[in-house]
């Protein structure tokens, strides 16, 4: 047996090129006759575009063309769309405002592009972009929901009165109201989920090439889902017909959601390539990335949770207002609705849950999915409520949770989801033991002697991954199906290529997907090649986001492997003159069980392709494909415990211990899964303590570089104690739940619960910067002084 199958800590196959500097990212690609694009962007958050004078720019050295939005729409390039329709309470559709890749009449956020310069060099393009004279009529702007919903607020889109996009609800309102009215105790909180910038380290980039002789386009781009990009570019943006457009997402330096969407720049590069008959490259600077990459989160909520006299939750009611920015990005509408409110039952058995959500336009960059997408907002809300309620009720926060856990599966929540498996108490126990909760009081006392305030906080998160059954998401408004495809090609020499519609941008698919094949056919992973990210090679795929590549992508591979295995057994049974049921595959051989009759794995491949001796009627070759449509969401869950020490003099918080117990179902490669959890937790700590995308009231981005947007660094985060307590997911052939987002979903409430425990003040918002923690401590001192 190889030791590279499911559950093995196999070192990554892809690492060699990355550690030697041979990774191939989009900006590394140079095409013949390549020109560079620089965008002319609005410095105003909201303005009418009165005129654009490109004459000076056009006359500059090296300038090939200056193109604007009127030319773009004149060439029938379509508006950018949101792919998930949401219906309001009153039955009306959402108010999607028009979004042209280059603004024509009006700009709606700082960074909104009005023109593009194509020039021989990057420097020439930038210089000419500065020389494009745009006359703006500046309009009043709004940068947050509070201002957008005000009477008389600036109107951002004509078809969205009051800037409202939709007013949506889920759950049982009347029953929830009644339950809360009769509750023995209620906990009410206002909770803000801070706006974030995803910040994959590789900035977005695109290289578009139009081949006039074939009327064919090629786009290299930093995408998590190249096939979706091709579909949308072709079907909605009218850039090129699908069969005349090849989209390649080569090595991609992190995504975290920000690289799901098809942005204006990719559309413009393709179109400009056709206009100028040159390859056109654009690579974002980090400053541009802050202005134009879709942001995440930005919710403001009020929530009330009710308990009976025995501390059982009887009802939970939430109102959320979400900022979707200046335009509706591709999946923006699904984030504060179906990816959020459907998780508001948490790990708990709650008979009555009701949530309504109003979304608004603001003069800020569009907001869409960022690692976790809706689920971090839900878990933060639920888990802060639970911790706060436990404090108010005077009970242990872990025990209040335990008492309310869902214990029987399947469990239907009042908010759509049917949880299929889990052992929440098992995760709680594992985390408590690893975190040495019993020893906390002594540690707190010891810290106090050093002048430090020590606190501990829990988070028992649940999320929904493996997105998702196509019919189900279709009924909820999704414009696409969310299946995945795979193709398994066994070569005549027995080596294997796996073509997958999933896309790896750090997740290690080249290794884990190969492990799946290794497990099935007992072959070394070095004989297995994973092919992804190229629409000319892989027929179709829905890409990688929402922790779906294991539960959905690998399920598709597994299904295709079933077909290959069946054919291999048929061939071997025929050649070895045995019954198919007696054929086993192991040790690089295909054998007849209990005999010494065997053929080498490569001999089966060769037989399939020489086709000299195949069973009657069998087609030659050994290649099978499959589409897998999930049967349900999957439900990763876990318990995180964070322990902090706060320096009361400065408000500086140090995370002294972070303990995770996750339930991801089947784990293919524990090393990679742990890495995903580490990275997710760091992003969650970033949200909880460091990161904040801040606009001023006029819509200027104040956190527009790493000088002001605080990225987690090595000395901001601890070593993490990560463990697993898993239940098998019954919904897919491998029993997998997904692990990519859990860390970012589960960690923020644990951190904030720990800090508020340490400082004795629950009035604290994310990010809990030293400045905010110190201010919260001043409130405590002031209150004590007043007593």
């Amino acid at each position: 047996m190889t030791d590279q199958g499911i559950g093995a800590r196999v070192l990554r196959k892809e690492d060699k090129r990355f550690i030697t500097g041979k990774g191939k990212y989009t900006d590394d690609i140079v095409q013949p006759n390549q020109a560079y694009a620089a965008f002319v962007r609005s410095p105003h958050a909201h303005a009418n575009v009165k005129s654009i004078d490109a004459s000076a720019a056009e006359a500059m050295d090296g300038v090939e063309a200056v193109l604007n939005g009127h030319q773009l729409t004149g060439d029938a390039i379509g508006n950018i769309i949101c792919g998930w329709g949401i219906t309001s309470k009153d039955g009306s559709p959402m108010n999607m405002g028009a979004w042209s890749a280059l603004a024509t009449e009006k700009v709606r956020y700082v960074g909104d592009a009005v023109a593009v310069v194509i020039a021989d060099s990057k420097a020439q393009a930038q210089a000419a972009a500065e020389a494009v004279m745009v006359e703006y009529e500046v309009l009043p702007a709004t940068s947050n929901v509070r201002d957008s919903m005000k009477e008389g607020a600036p109107q951002i889109h004509e078809n969205a009165p009051g800037n409202q996009i939709f007013d949506w609800e889920i759950g049982n309102k009347d029953e929830t109201d009644a339950a809360l009215a009769s509750a023995h105790h209620t906990t009410t909180m206002d909770i803000t989920n801070n706006r974030l910038s995803p910040n994959p380290m590789e900035p977005r980039s695109a290289v578009a090439t139009f081949d006039e002789s074939e009327d064919h386009y090629t786009l290299y781009t930093t995408s998590q889902n190249p096939h979706v990009a091709r579909l949308v570019l072709s079907a909605f943006y009218n850039v090129a017909p699908e069969h005349k457009l090849r989209v390649i997402a080569p090595d991609v330096g992190g995504g975290f959601g920000a690289k799901i969407y098809i942005y204006p720049e990719e559309i413009v590069c393709l179109w400009a390539s056709m206009k100028t008959n040159r390859s056109v490259k654009w690579t974002s600077t980090r400053s541009e990335a802050f202005l134009t990459d879709a942001h995440g989160r930005d919710h403001v909520s009020t929530a009330t949770m009710g308990f009976d006299a025995d501390n059982n939750i009887v009802g939970f009611k939430i109102n959320t207002k979400a900022n979707l920015g200046a335009y509706m990005s591709l999946f923006s509408s699904s984030v504060p609705t179906y990816l959020y409110a459907t998780l508001l039952s948490g790990q708990y058995n709650i008979a009555n849950v009701y949530c309504d959500v109003q979304t608004y336009y603001t003069n800020t960059v569009p907001v869409d999915a960022y690692r976790g997408a809706g689920r971090p907002e839900a878990s933060y809300l639920v888990e802060r409520m639970m911790e706060t309620a436990a404090r108010e009720l005077g009970v242990d926060p872990g025990e209040l949770r335990r008492q309310n856990f869902v214990r029987e599966f399947p469990h239907q929540t009042p908010v759509i989801m049917a949880y299929d498996s889990g052992d929440f108490a098992g995760n709680l126990d594992q985390a408590k033991a690893a975190a040495d909760v019993a020893g906390f009081a002594a540690r707190k006392e010891e810290a106090a002697k050093r002048g430090k305030l020590r606190g501990m906080g829990y988070s028992n998160y649940i999320e929904a991954c493996g997105i998702a059954p196509s019919a189900a998401v279709g009924s909820l408004g999704a414009g696409v199906g969310l299946w995945e495809s795979a193709e398994v090609r066994v070569n005549p020499v027995g080596t294997i290529e796996i073509l997958t519609g999933s896309h790896s941008h750090g997740q290690g698919h080249e290794t884990t997907f190969a492990q799946l094949v290794s497990e099935r056919f007992d072959l070394p992973t070095e004989n297995i090649q994973i092919v992804h990210g190229d629409t000319d090679k892989v027929q179709f795929g829905m890409g990688t986001y929402g922790s779906r590549s294991g539960a959905v992508g690998m399920s598709a591979i597994s299904k295709a492997l079933d077909k290959v295995e069946a054919k291999v057994k048929k061939i071997a049974a025929h050649v070895l003159e045995a019954a198919e049921d007696d054929i086993v595959i192991e040790g690089g051989e295909v054998k007849v069980k209990g005999t010494d009759k065997a053929m080498g794995w490569h001999e089966v491949g060769l037989s399939a392709y020489t086709a000299h001796n195949l069973p009657e009627g069998m087609e030659p070759g050994l290649k099978e494909g499959a589409f897998y449509d999930p049967t349900n969401f999957t439900f990763p869950a876990g318990c995180y415990i964070c322990e902090v020490e706060v320096d009361p003099q400065t408000g500086v918080t140090e995370i002294v211990q972070f303990t995770a117990s996750d339930d991801f179902g089947t784990i293919i490669n524990p090393m990679i899964v742990e890495g995903q959890v580490h990275g997710g937790i760091a992003q969650g700590i970033g949200q909880a303590m460091l990161e904040h995308a801040v606009y001023d009231d006029d819509g200027q981005l104040l956190s527009g570089s790493y000088m002001d947007y605080c990225m987690p660094r090595a000395d901001d985060v601890p070593n993490y104690t990560v463990s697993h307590h898993s239940t098998t997911c019954p919904g897919n052939p491998l029993g997998m739940k997904g692990c990519g987002e859990a860390g970012a979903i589960g960690s923020p409430p644990a951190v904030i619960n720990a800090i508020t425990d340490a400082i004795g003040n629950n009035n604290l918002s994310m990010p809990a910067t030293p400045s905010r923690v110190w201010a919260a401590l001043q409130q405590v001192s002031a209150a004590q002084a007043a007593e």
Partner: protein, 264 residues
């Protein structure tokens, strides 16, 4: 970045005469502030006269009670210098906390003080220790050198060649870094010098580095962290931004002053 013309100077006189002949030239040290500023298209010098290769500016020497650091000495060089560590440990420690290792390998003391970034560390070091800034034309006491945010007493075309630090009886530096940029949000250098106690604050003030009279008085009377308690800092003189209020910065000045004393 806008077009520019690069020139590598071989000596101080070569550098100053070269710069004098340019339209809108600038001296280039390690470039750790100027290059990013140029990349953001916020500066467009016609010429860059690189002084970082002038050997005469790369020396550190200790004579009597004076430590002289050449303008082209990098932060890494100062941080790693055993002479500096022995003579004024607070200065070595300050240099070791500037930026990150790669920035310290390029950034120079001359470049840092000539720029007088309100969040830079060296201005606090110079002012707190009572240094003298040596230029190609004259010597300027630190008290007169740092005029305001990004402003110094340097004349057009005048070049910093060295900084002379008098040894302090005791000195300590404590920095509260801005969580994002890691520049000083509040940096305090407190020193017992031949001319009494000096306390300089960088990062926090709305007009650049400044001396803190109340802290100097308190520490002059009692050199201990406790003495900084209750010494207030005028919030009106403090910066305020998304990272912290003026009130918070004013509070941190006191805390960092105490820690500077503890570090001395």
């Amino acid at each position: 970045m806008y077009d520019t013309t690069y020139y590598r100077a071989s000596s101080v006189s070569d550098a100053t005469s070269k710069l004098a002949g340019t339209e809108d030239g600038k001296f280039l040290g390690g470039g750790q502030t100027l290059i990013p500023t140029m990349k953001q298209r916020l500066a467009a010098p016609s010429d860059l006269v690189d002084v970082s290769g002038i050997d005469a500016l790369k020396n550190i020497s200790v004579e009597g009670d004076t430590v002289t650091i050449g303008a082209a000495c990098t932060h890494a060089q100062v941080a790693g210098s055993s002479e500096v560590a022995e003579a004024i440990p607070a200065l070595a420690s300050l240099a070791n906390g500037i930026g990150d290792p790669a920035v310290r390998a390029r950034g120079t003391i001359g470049g840092s003080i000539a720029n007088n970034d309100p969040a830079a560390d060296y201005p606090a070091g110079c002012l707190g220790l009572g240094a003298t800034i040596v230029t190609d034309a004259r010597e300027i006491p630190a008290d007169e050198f740092f005029v305001g945010m990004f402003e110094t007493a340097l004349d057009e075309g005048e070049m910093v060649t060295a900084v002379k630090f008098p040894k302090a009886t005791k000195a300590g530096y404590a920095k509260f870094p801005n969580p994002a940029s890691r520049y000083a949000m509040v940096g305090v250098l407190a020193a017992q010098t031949a001319n009494g106690v000096r306390v300089a604050v960088t990062g926090a003030g709305n007009d650049g580095v400044f001396r803190h009279a109340a802290l100097e008085e308190a520490l002059g009377a009692n050199w201990s962290a406790d003495a900084t308690q209750g010494v207030s800092t005028d919030e009106g003189d403090m910066l305020a931004d998304i990272h912290g209020s003026a009130e918070y910065r004013a509070h941190l000045v006191g805390v960092m002053a105490g820690r500077a004393v503890d570090n001395s």
